[in-house]
């Protein structure tokens, strides 16, 4: 069978108006169904004829999935809320600037208007071998082309490799992990709440999926608890060009400080593994420590312990170390 790209094959399109209907459709069609949010990841797959769902369930017409509700100081963000709405929301900006920063650095203005928070955290990796439709582990095959000795892998992982070396491309994911957000996932059996840190799945556990979503599941809402409202935040995304680009490495951090001392910390890095990596050791190290250059240096060094570069991504160790240092420095 010859390969042809950039021409979307036909599928059956459903446009439910309620979450219940969407969940019922997902349950009915199981593995043959594809939940379509903003479509920025999905359309690429469809057009390349690599992922060929028989049924596409467009979530764009479900009002209940859009909008931001207050829950005390915390916020419930509908999964279909656009990234630009998240970035512009005054409540997000005043309480969780970290998330606003992350959302505002995604791709381009048009993509942020179309792209959703739920889609951004649930998107598939951009490994160019996988995206070329090669039969790699993530595609159900038995090979990781990106980790071959001569492979081109500057954009691949330095942590958490397990056969597959892809990275998570989301900008908002590390911010949500840092904010201790939770995800509400619905399916026919009910709703379960998944901590953001557990929502993202590495290849060691599931090599074909990036998230805890299984066939039939629908991410309905992202809850950001009040815990970190108004904390000191640091977000930085390093990429090859200023817009329409995925991160090489991203850091998202939250701190509570008092008297020059860090009382609480969350430090999360993305672009280095198949999931946003929360740096528990670094958090322990900096908690109770002065927000000083020494602490920043030590935090950076600790952050990359155990990291294992591929041929072309050794720079990511330095980049990750430096970004963690900057994040800790920002608490001063």
């Amino acid at each position: 069978m010859a390969t042809i790209r950039d021409m979307m094959p036909a599928f059956e399109l459903f446009q439910p108006a309620t979450v219940e209907d969407a969940v019922a459709l997902l349950a009915e069609h199981g593995r043959e169904a594809w939940a379509l949010a903003g479509g920025l990841d999905s359309m690429d797959w469809f057009k390349d004829r690599i992922k060929r769902p028989r049924v596409v369930i467009d979530l764009g017409g479900i009002p209940d999935l859009t909008g931001i509700q207050e829950r005390g100081e915390g916020l419930d963000i509908g999964a279909m809320t656009s990234l630009s709405a998240v970035a512009a929301d005054e409540r997000v900006r005043s309480r969780f600037q970290l998330l606003a920063d992350a959302a505002s650095q995604v791709a381009t203005p048009q993509i942020r208007n179309q792209g959703t928070l739920g889609g951004n955290v649930s998107q598939d990796t951009r490994c160019w071998y996988y995206r070329s439709g090669w039969p790699c582990y993530r595609a159900g095959g038995n090979t990781c082309y990106a980790s071959a000795p001569q492979a081109m892998n500057r954009e691949h992982c330095i942590l958490g490799a397990s056969r597959c070396v892809a990275v998570n491309p989301s900008d908002t994911a590390p911010a949500l992990v840092a904010l201790d957000a939770t995800m509400d996932v619905r399916n026919r059996r009910g709703t379960r709440t998944v901590a953001a840190e557990d929502y993202f799945v590495g290849p060691a556990i599931d090599i074909t999926r990036m998230t805890a979503l299984k066939p039939g599941d629908l991410l309905t809402s992202i809850r950001v608890p009040a815990d970190w409202a108004g904390a000191r935040f640091y977000f930085e995304k390093v990429r090859d060009r200023g817009s329409w680009d995925f991160a090489l490495v991203t850091v998202a951090a939250a701190f509570r400080t008092a008297g020059g001392r860090i009382d609480q910390a969350r430090v999360v890095v993305n672009g280095v593994a198949a999931y946003p990596v929360r740096l528990h050791d670094v958090e322990r190290l900096v908690t109770g420590a002065p927000a000083s250059e020494e602490t920043a240096q030590a935090a950076g060094d600790l952050a990359v312990q155990g990291a294992r570069p591929l041929k072309y991504n050794g720079y990511k160790l330095a980049l990750m170390r430096n970004l963690v240092r900057r994040a800790v420095r920002s608490a001063a």
Binding site: W134, P135, N142, A148, R163, R308
Partner: protein
């Protein structure tokens, strides 16, 4: 049902990438069906009563407990069993839907299996009687007689076995072949993952060679589901439990020895040490005092 998994390689050439995961379900279902079927059949048949032949001459000198498996042999068996179970669980439970990080456990267990197997090979060549595992024409006849007897309760009782009954030997040899396939291909497959030993190299073999490697590994694996399931099932069946206990305790009692074994072929008499190699058995021999001297 998907028997083989194929995919188009980056050049659009169709290559084999392994067995279809449906075979895992097939193996699980077939094993369960066998177990249930066997249980029902045994129930319908009215259970087993081994017609023990008359004890042969020399039985009077037998000890109460006849040693069947040395400590070393038992240790090997159980370590190997643990490794095998870990391998099967880490290989197939994620495929069946319960996901956990399995790769490291799997290859470490695989190496453990390899180590026990290597040890077993050395031990069995150097310290055990390989001949006791040899399948002779007599073994085959004995096996068929056993089979006939189990199918037809009216059939004449099967002759008693040597130290190891025909079915045990056959099982062992099948497991040897299948495990060897799994281990050899597993070692090759370790070249494609990160281990402390070497940098992985996906392209060490051609697509086709890797495909066969995965195929053999997969087929060995699903075969082992059935083999292990059957083994465990028989091990816990009441009429076989005395054998299982022997793998725990090391010995069988005189009654079972006399009922199931032919002392001619498995002589555990006091003079056994002097008759080494004449159909007598390693474990007993190996533990005889004059050998230790």
């Amino acid at each position: 049902m998907e028997v083989l998994r194929r995919a188009a390689n980056p050049w659009g050439q169709e290559v084999l990438i392994g067995i279809g995961w449906d075979l895992v379900w097939l193996a699980v279902v077939a094993s369960a069906a066998f177990v249930v079927g066997h249980m029902v059949w045994v129930r319908l048949r009215g259970g087993f009563t081994h017609e023990a032949s008359e004890p042969g001459p020399g039985s009077s000198g037998l000890p109460e407990r006849v040693e069947r498996h040395s400590f070393a042999a038992r240790a090997f068996h159980w370590v190997m069993s643990a490794a095998m179970l870990v391998l099967l669980v880490t290989a197939f439970v994620p495929v069946l839907g319960l996901q956990f990080p399995w790769v490291t456990l799997h290859w470490v267990a695989g190496l453990a299996l390899l180590a026990t197997v290597l040890w077993h090979i050395v031990h069995s060549i150097g310290w055990q009687d390989l001949g006791s595992m040899w399948v002779s024409a007599r073994d085959v006849r004995e096996g068929f007689a056993e089979l006939r007897q189990s199918l037809d309760p009216k059939a004449p009782p099967a002759p008693r076995a040597g130290k190891y009954p025909f079915d045990h030997k056959l099982y062992h040899h099948v497991v040897v072949v299948v495990s060897f396939g799994a281990i050899a291909t597993g070692l090759l497959m370790m070249l494609r993952i990160d281990t402390p030993f070497w940098d992985r190299n996906t392209y060490l073999l051609s697509d086709a060679a890797w495909g066969w490697t995965y195929l053999v590994h997969g087929l060995s694996g699903v075969s082992l589901i059935g083999l292990v399931a059957g083994h465990i099932y028989f091990a816990i069946r009441p009429e076989k439990r005395w054998i299982t206990w022997s793998m725990v305790r090391g010995w069988i009692d005189r009654e079972h020895y006399l009922a199931h074994h032919d002392p001619e072929r498995w002589n555990v008499g006091v003079d056994a040490g002097a008759r080494r190699g004449a159909g007598a058995i390693a474990d007993a021999v190996a533990r005889a005092p004059d050998q230790d001297a």
